[in-house]
């Protein structure tokens, strides 16, 4: 299971150069680019673990380390195995070690170690002030983090559940997103706001919110969603190093995922999407937990003779339209699979962005599978039907590829 998810990035960097050669808007150009793609290594997988820095259009805020090392497979470097929440912690700890201004604040993050144990052991190591337990006042401790950031620290604000961040919306929208701009660039707010969200196992409606899209419009913030231990650690580090406020969405059900990650230090790019499975027939865009449903569906689809290309978009704001666009230009069919609600969800926004930019390349209307527009029910079966399930994905692909 783990090795599939490590197929990353190298493919896209190769595509870059080849893409610039071919003309993009004509029909012939399209065909030409397809050919180029196929020979160029679209089928490459299990390549390097490291996303090499692409010095082209996308602004790489995070340092992509060791960009010049040749693509090496995981097998040659031993790495170490850990669970996703441990990967988050490792990334956090490395950054706290590296920069004394990095601090954590949130409910029960200190000696309790965090409700999902992401900050376990940090309070003992760095002290109560650097790993700060806050009273139950999300708006206020988010505000505190903003104030601390404006005066020199780099706080990581943990929401016990992303749903609780709704209480902090005022500070996030009005101050976090705005103050760098309204102060004329004088004050910067390098905070990371992170926490678990998404639908879990019968946690009830208030604790099963999928509210990435609520924050998507806020100007001034970036949003990323992690899905594997590898990208969790890399994104955590990138978010901490970024001078912009970043919201890092984790998922309650993914904390115990196990994967082997490299020993050496790596930081991922906040604005890059991850190529999970290169393919030819259809582009499936997904993020967070739905990635796993998609990969499960992909197995079925492969057995049925389809070749889906699966991209974990990772960056929810801004979208990595470069990677997405390349894929669409190849496959001409798009399926978005998300956990967000149908109305006003990330998928809705992505559909609009794709239509605006890549309409000419589509052979079929964009399909978007989202969760139902209902509060998450408690009953197990109902909860399951609220989110997108693999059979639905298989059916959607079959329909798209008719």
């Amino acid at each position: 299971m783990a090795s599939i998810f490590q197929g990353v990035g190298a493919a896209t960097s190769l595509d870059t150069k080849k893409f610039q050669l071919s003309s993009l808007r004509s029909v012939t150009g399209r065909k030409a680019s397809c050919v180029v793609m196929r020979s160029g290594g679209a089928k490459m997988d299990g390549g390097s673990n490291q996303i090499s820095g692409r010095a082209d259009q996308l602004v790489t805020n995070a340092v992509a380390t060791k960009a010049d090392t040749p693509a090496a497979s995981t097998a040659s470097k031993p790495g170490h195995e850990l669970l996703l929440f441990e990967a988050l912690r490792e990334g956090l700890e490395e950054e706290m070690e590296r920069d004394a201004r990095v601090c954590v604040m949130g409910e029960d993050v200190g000696h309790y170690g965090g409700s999902y144990k992401v900050t376990k052991g940090l309070a003992e190591k760095y002290g109560d002030l650097r790993v700060l337990d806050t009273p139950i006042a999300e708006n206020s401790f988010t505000g505190m983090g903003i104030g601390a950031a404006m005066t020199g620290l780099r706080p990581i604000i943990e929401g016990m559940n992303m749903g609780f961040l709704l209480l902090a919306f005022n500070q996030i929208s009005n101050n976090c997103g705005m103050l760098h701009y309204t102060s004329g660039g004088q004050f910067k707010i390098p905070v990371v706001i992170r926490g678990p969200g998404g639908v879990g196992r019968q946690l009830g409606a208030e604790h099963s919110q999928r509210l990435e899209s609520y924050f998507q419009s806020i100007p001034g913030i970036q949003m990323v969603a992690c899905s594997t231990p590898y990208n969790a650690k890399g994104l955590m580090k990138a978010a901490i190093r970024s001078d912009n406020p970043v919201i890092l969405f984790e998922h309650v059900l993914l904390y115990n995922l196990k994967e082997r990650i490299p020993d050496e230090e790596y930081v991922l790019n906040l604005e890059e999407a991850e190529m999970v499975r290169p393919g030819e027939h259809v582009t499936i865009l997904t993020y967070s937990r739905m990635r796993y449903h998609v990969m499960q569906a992909a197995k079925t689809l492969v057995n049925k003779g389809y070749d889906p290309e699966v991209i974990d978009i990772r960056s929810l704001k801004p979208f990595d339209l470069y990677t997405i666009g390349n894929s669409i230009k190849k496959t001409h069919r798009v399926l978005i699979v998300e956990e967000c609600m149908r109305t006003g969800g990330i998928g809705a926004s992505l559909t609009a962005a794709i239509t605006e930019n890549f309409h000419d390349y589509l052979d079929a209307p964009i399909m978007c599978l989202s969760s139902q527009d209902v509060p998450t029910p408690y009953a197990g079966t109902l909860e399951e039907w609220t989110v997108v399930q693999p059979p639905q994905i298989v059916a959607a692909v079959e329909q798209l590829c008719r």
């Binding site: 601090c103 000696h111 700060l132 903003i146 620290l153 009005n174 309204t182």
Partner: protein, 488 residues
């Protein structure tokens, strides 16, 4: 026999307590001093900070806190407690060490009253006639500082008048005056150091003035031209200056309170010899952020000064509709914060209180609450006509009778440091500077289109770049539809 029985059951209880690691209670038996001393050695709620075992669970000590703190942990009974001593008398609990500390019991069913017969007294050293109420030797203010204070209060007054009129003339879109609160603005700023971070609400431009913000800089912000520190992105009076450690005003009420606490936290982490100060009004004290900010600052022992400008009005809401406590000063006690009520029209009292508060905050690493009682003698803003909800003669009474500028002037003049001629010179000088500043600011170009898109992030992202390019092209194609004083 009875003794034996008691001690056995006691053993059982203790065993259960120990094995389940419950938070055990403290038992104080005032009739047995021996038991007392034995027990008290187990209860770590003294003022010193002994190291606690990890499974005590509830204790936390900040390594950097120098002042003593009470830990509310109770430790489970250890084996060397003398069982027999405990079991000789049935202990009568006079008090109990609950989580949070020892509390005495009483059989009197007494609800504390919501209000006290007498209100908290107000600290004042200069009476309404400008006469000192205390020994002048105990005043720690130099002539230079006092004269600068008065000078800046006058500047602020003139600035308010002229900018207000500029708004009425349609030259700027909005303005907010500080009439009646000049002493609060200037005197509090004078008592701080430039390293102290200021988190304003919006009625504190005097703090910027004191620190050196020029009249031209004020005008540039009001006109939103390209020299504005904020690059024309905020509406008027939303000043900010990183150089002067004055965080940009944000319209949202009281959101700056937790910011100030967070900044104080960062100062504490870095052990700086500085504090933060945040200003808010009586209305702002009703918000959730006020509550959590004060509460948390006390828990964290953060060096922050909470300065409440209780001017009696939140737009049209009078104080009696805003709260029913004895103002805001009594709330400090509720959070465990040292507090003081000050005459907001008395520049010397404010100076002295803030000076002391700053010392307290930094040396003792504690938040401090200051409530300055005053009156909002002007309208809420240029969008408001306060005669609609309060009598004009009331406004006049405060504006003229309790005028902080006049009062301070009397004292400064009586010291021989000021006179009529200097006054009129200063006022006309400022008026001239202001009118020049306004004219200059009006003529300056507005910020370019590029400034609309940068600083949203640290580096311009692709989508914003596209939007900017697209907008530029559009404006270039239709120049007649767009103002000419904006660089594209």
């Amino acid at each position: 026999m009875a003794t034996f029985f008691l001690s056995k059951s006691h053993k059982l209880i203790m065993h259960n307590l120990k094995s389940t690691k419950l938070l055990t209670f403290g038992v104080t038996n005032h009739t047995s001093s021996v038991a007392n001393s034995l027990l008290s050695s187990h209860f770590l709620h003294t003022r010193s900070r002994p190291p606690l075992p990890n499974d005590a669970g509830f204790s936390r000590c900040f390594a950097t806190v120098s002042s003593g703190r009470r830990s509310h942990t109770a430790v489970s009974f250890s084996d060397d407690v003398d069982q027999d001593q405990l079991s000789t008398e049935a202990p009568l609990q006079q008090e109990l060490n609950f989580p949070g500390g020892k509390v005495k019991f009483t059989p009197n069913k007494l609800f504390t009253s919501g209000s006290s017969a007498e209100r908290t007294q107000c600290y004042r050293v200069l009476n309404e006639n400008g006469q000192l109420l205390i020994d002048s030797d105990s005043l720690k203010i130099s002539k230079e500082v006092a004269v600068k204070m008065y000078r800046d209060m006058v500047t602020l007054q003139v600035m308010d008048t002229i900018f207000y009129e500029a708004q009425r003339q349609g030259r700027i879109s909005f303005y907010l005056t500080t009439i009646g609160e000049e002493a609060i603005n200037i005197a509090s700023a004078a008592a701080l150091s430039h390293n102290d971070f200021v988190f304003p609400q919006y009625r504190e431009p005097g703090v910027l003035l004191w620190r050196g913000f020029t009249l031209q800089e004020f005008a540039n912000q009001l006109f939103g031209n390209k020299y504005d520190q904020g690059k024309g992105r905020q509406m008027p009076i939303h000043y900010g200056s990183k150089k002067l450690n004055y965080i940009t005003v944000s319209s949202t009420v009281a959101t700056q309170i937790p910011h100030a606490v967070g900044a104080a936290y960062s100062l504490k982490m870095e052990k700086q010899d500085a504090c933060t100060i945040t200003y808010f009004g009586d209305g702002g004290s009703s918000t959730g952020d006020f509550h959590a900010g004060l509460n948390f600052s006390a828990v964290m022992e953060a060096p922050v000064i909470f300065f409440c400008r209780n001017n009696g009005w939140a737009i049209s809401t009078p104080i009696t509709d805003q709260l029913r406590s004895d103002g805001i000063v009594v709330r400090g006690k509720a959070y465990g914060i040292p507090s003081i009520r000050v005459d907001g029209n008395d520049a010397l009292a404010i100076y002295s209180a803030v000076y002391e508060a700053r010392k307290l905050a930094i040396e003792k690493q504690t938040p401090v609450l200051i409530e300055a009682l005053t009156y909002r003698a002007g309208h809420h803003s240029t969008s408001d006509d306060s005669t609609k909800y309060r009598p004009a003669d009331e406004i006049e009474w405060w504006r003229d009778g309790q005028n902080p500028v006049k009062r301070f002037r009397t004292w400064v003049e009586n010291n021989g440091w000021w006179n009529d001629q200097v006054e009129s010179e200063h006022r006309s000088n400022i008026r001239k500077q202001l009118s020049q500043a306004i004219q200059a600011a009006e003529r300056v170009e507005k910020p370019p289109v590029a400034d609309m898109f940068n600083d949203v992030y640290d580096v311009l992202p692709k989508n914003l770049n596209e939007q900017e390019v697209s907008l530029r092209e559009h404006v270039k194609k239709h120049p007649q539809e767009y103002p000419s004083n904006v660089a594209v």
